[in-house]
C-alpha cells in the first residue's frame, strides 16, 4: 500500500484540460499541465469537490466492485443511512435491505444502527468530560484529513470513537461469527458508500490500526441492480420476509447534517456542512472563538452524507425522502438497550486506538531561513503577476502560480498575460531592428536637411 492512496482520481481520457476543478479544490491540490489535470497526492483529502465541479466527468471515485464478494464465505452489506434516500419507490427500509440480500449479500447491518451506538458513546464522553471541549465529530474522514493538514492543533479534540462505518463492520462481524460459526477472516463486511473519502479511510484508517471493513462499494455501482430487486420484491407482496430493519430514526438521521448532533444530544451543538463552510468555521474556532459550543458536527458535503458525490439523487430530494423515512423509523423501539450501550462504553470497545497525526506538507522548505527567502520570492513574483486569478496557467490563482514557480514546477511564462507582454516586447524589438537600415541604404534627403 502506498503512503498516499486516494479514491478520487482522474479519468485521463475524459479530461479536457479545462480549469473548473482547480478553482473549486479547497486544498489547491490540482494543477492542469499539458492539457490534463493532476492531483497532488499529498494534499488531496478526497472531499470530492472536483467530482462535482468537472463538466466532463473526468474526476472519478475508485471504489471496490462486487467481485470482491467472492473472496469471503459470508458477506455482509453495510448500507449508509443516506442510501435509503436514493429510491423513489421505497416506502420502507426493509425492502432495500432485502434487495441487498438478493444481489449477493448473505446479511445486512445498517450503519444507522452503529451510528446510534457512536452517538451514545460521544454523548457519554462529553458528559464524563473525557475530551477537551469543544469536541469534534470523527465521522467525516474528509474533514479529519483537512484538519490534519490545516488545523492540526484541533485534532486532539476529535471524539476518540470509531466511525459508524467501522463500528458497523465490527458489530456485524461479531454477530455473524456467533450466527454462522465461521472465523473472522471468512466474513467480509462491505460499506455501501456515498463517499470517496470512506474508500480512502478503509485503506488508510486514521484512528485505528486496521479497518474491519473489507470493501467499499459505491452506491452508483449497484444502484440499477437494487432497483430491479426492489421492483421484484414489491411485485410479490404476500411473501413473508424476515425482519432485518433495526435502526431507529435517530440513526437514520445521520444521513443528513444535524442528525449526528441530535443523536449525540449533549450541550450546545453546531452542525456545518460543505467543505468551504467547514473551512471558514474552523478558522474561527482556531482563533479561539465559539467557546460556548460543546460539539461540532462538520461534514465535507453540503447537506451531509446525503449530498455525497457517489449518491444518485439531488441532495434536497434525498433529504425529503430521508426525512420521511426517519419519521417512519422513529416509531421503532431502539434495538440496543441503555444497559448494553453503557456496557459498550465501559469496555471502550469502539474507542479509537491511534491518535490522528498532523501532516506538515504546506511548508516551502525544511529550513526556516530558506523558507523565508522562498516566501519573499513568492511575494515578489505574485506582485508582478496580473492578479486575474484566471487559472489559464494551470494553477488555481496567481499566488499559487508564484508558489509553483518557486517550487520549481512552473514558469513565469505559463501566465498568458505575462507571455503576451513578453511577445509584445519581443515584437517591438524586432520592429525596431527592422527599421534600422544599412548605412549604404540611408535616406539621402535627411542628410541634406541636416546640413
Amino acid at each position: 500500500m502506498t503512503e498516499y492512496f486516494h479514491s478520487v482520481r482522474l479519468d485521463f481520457e475524459k479530461c479536457k484540460g479545462c480549469t473548473n476543478c482547480i478553482k473549486r479544490c479547497p486544498m489547491e491540490a490540482i494543477r492542469v499541465h499539458e492539457g490534463k489535470a493532476t492531483i497532488m497526492q499529498e494534499r488531496c483529502i478526497d472531499c470530492g469537490e472536483c467530482i462535482r465541479a468537472c463538466p466532463n466527468h473526468a474526476k472519478i471515485s475508485v471504489t471496490d466492485t462486487l467481485d470482491i464478494l467472492n473472496d469471503y464465505k459470508y458477506r455482509i452489506a453495510l448500507p449508509a443511512p443516506s442510501f435509503f434516500a436514493q429510491f423513489k419507490e421505497v416506502e420502507n427500509v426493509e425492502c432495500v435491505l432485502h434487495a441487498l440480500l438478493n444481489i449477493g449479500f448473505d446479511d445486512v447491518f445498517e450503519v444507522a444502527l452503529a451510528a446510534e451506538v457512536v452517538g451514545f458513546l460521544i454523548h457519554q464522553y462529553i458528559k464524563d468530560n473525557k475530551i477537551k471541549k469543544p469536541v469534534f465529530s470523527s465521522a467525516c474522514p474528509a474533514v479529519l484529513r483537512l484538519m490534519q493538514i490545516k488545523y492540526p492543533d484541533l485534532l486532539e479534540q476529535v471524539a476518540p470513537v470509531l466511525t459508524p462505518m467501522e463500528v458497523a463492520a465490527r458489530m456485524a462481524k461479531e454477530d455473524a461469527m456467533k450466527k454462522t460459526g465461521l472465523s473472522y477472516e471468512d466474513i467480509g463486511a462491505f460499506f455501501i458508500s456515498p463517499c470517496p473519502a470512506k474508500v480512502t479511510e478503509m485503506r488508510n484508517p486514521m484512528n485505528t490500526k486496521h479497518s474491519a471493513v473489507n470493501g467499499v462499494i459505491g452506491v452508483s455501482l449497484i444502484y440499477k441492480d437494487i432497483i430491479k430487486q426492489i421492483l421484484a420484491i414489491k411485485s410479490k407482496k404476500n411473501e413473508d420476509y424476515e425482519k432485518l430493519h433495526k435502526a431507529t430514526g435517530l440513526g437514520m438521521a445521520w444521513g443528513y447534517v444535524t442528525g449526528e448532533s441530535k443523536n449525540v444530544d449533549m450541550g450546545k451543538a453546531l452542525a456545518v456542512s460543505g467543505i468551504h463552510n467547514v473551512i471558514s468555521l474552523l478558522e474561527e474556532i482556531e482563533r479561539g472563538e465559539l467557546k460556548d459550543v460543546d460539539f461540532f458536527e462538520l461534514q465535507a458535503c453540503t447537506g451531509g452524507c446525503v449530498g455525497g458525490p457517489l449518491n444518485i439523487h439531488n441532495l434536497f430530494v434525498g433529504r425529503v425522502r430521508l426525512r420521511e423515512l426517519i419519521k417512519k423509523c422513529g416509531i421503532q423501539a431502539p434495538y440496543y438497550t441503555d444497559k448494553q450501550l453503557i456496557d459498550l462504553y465501559k469496555r471502550a470497545h469502539f474507542e479509537a486506538t491511534e491518535p490522528i497525526k498532523p501532516k506538515t506538507i504546506m511548508h516551502l522548505d525544511e529550513d526556516m531561513s530558506q523558507a523565508i527567502l522562498k516566501l519573499e520570492q513568492v511575494d515578489k513574483i505574485a506582485s508582478e503577476l496580473p492578479g486575474l486569478d484566471c487559472g489559464a496557467c494551470g494553477s488555481p490563482n496567481c499566488r499559487a502560480l508564484a508558489e509553483d514557480i518557486v517550487r520549481g514546477v512552473a514558469f513565469e511564462t505559463d501566465c498568458v498575460i505575462k507571455l503576451r507582454e513578453k511577445v509584445k516586447t519581443l515584437a517591438e524589438e524586432i520592429l525596431d531592428l527592422a527599421r534600422i537600415v544599412p548605412p549604404s541604404m540611408g535616406d539621402s534627403s535627411k542628410k541634406i536637411e541636416e546640413k
Binding site: 492543533d153 478558522e283 479561539g288 526556516m368 523565508i372 527567502l373 511575494d379
Partner: protein, 152 residues
C-alpha cells in the same frame, strides 16, 4: 562582533491597513498570516497564538480607533505583531488588561464583539507585550512571540 551585527537575517514583513469598523480585516489578515506561517513551517501552537494576537489586536483597532495599520514581522527567531492607530487611546491600560473589562459601545457588543477579552487574550498569547498609548491621539501595541522559547 561588527561582522555579526551586519549579518543578514532573512525576514518577512506583512502589512494591512485597518479602517474604522472594518470587522472583516481582522479575520482576513489572521487567516492570511496563518497560511504564511504554515508555509514557513512554523510550529502549530505558535501559529495559533500569533493568529489570536493578530485577530484581537486588529479587532481592537477596528472597534475603537479611527484608522490604523497592522504589521507582522517574522524571522527565524521571533514573530512581532504591531498595531498602530489614530484613535482615542486607552485611558487605563491596567484596567483594560482585566478580563471582561470593555469600553466598546453597546452596538458593537450587540454584534458579538467587545467582550473585554481582547487584551487579556493578547497578553496570554504573547511572550512580550508593550502598549504605548496617548489619550486623544492613538495607541501602539507591540507583541512578540519567540520561536525557540517555551511559552508558559
Amino acid at each position: 562582533m561588527l561582522n555579526n551585527s551586519f549579518r543578514f537575517t532573512p525576514h518577512i514583513t506583512l502589512e494591512f491597513k485597518i479602517e474604522e469598523k472594518d470587522f472583516f480585516i481582522a479575520s482576513e489578515s489572521a487567516s492570511r498570516i496563518k497560511k504564511t506561517l504554515q508555509q514557513l513551517g512554523i510550529k502549530q501552537d505558535i501559529i495559533k497564538r500569533t493568529a489570536i494576537i493578530i485577530y484581537e489586536a486588529a479587532m481592537n483597532v477596528a472597534i475603537h480607533a479611527i484608522h490604523g495599520a497592522l504589521k507582522v514581522y517574522v524571522d527565524p527567531e521571533v514573530i512581532s505583531v504591531v498595531t498602530e492607530d489614530v484613535g482615542p487611546g486607552i485611558e487605563n491600560v491596567e484596567l483594560a488588561m482585566k478580563e471582561g473589562y470593555s469600553t466598546a459601545p453597546q452596538e458593537i457588543r450587540e454584534m458579538g464583539f467587545g467582550a473585554g477579552m481582547g487584551l487579556p487574550n493578547i497578553k496570554q498569547c504573547s511572550d512580550e507585550l508593550v502598549i504605548d498609548t496617548k489619550i486623544g491621539e492613538g495607541t501602539t501595541l507591540k507583541a512578540k512571540i519567540y520561536l525557540n522559547k517555551n511559552h508558559e
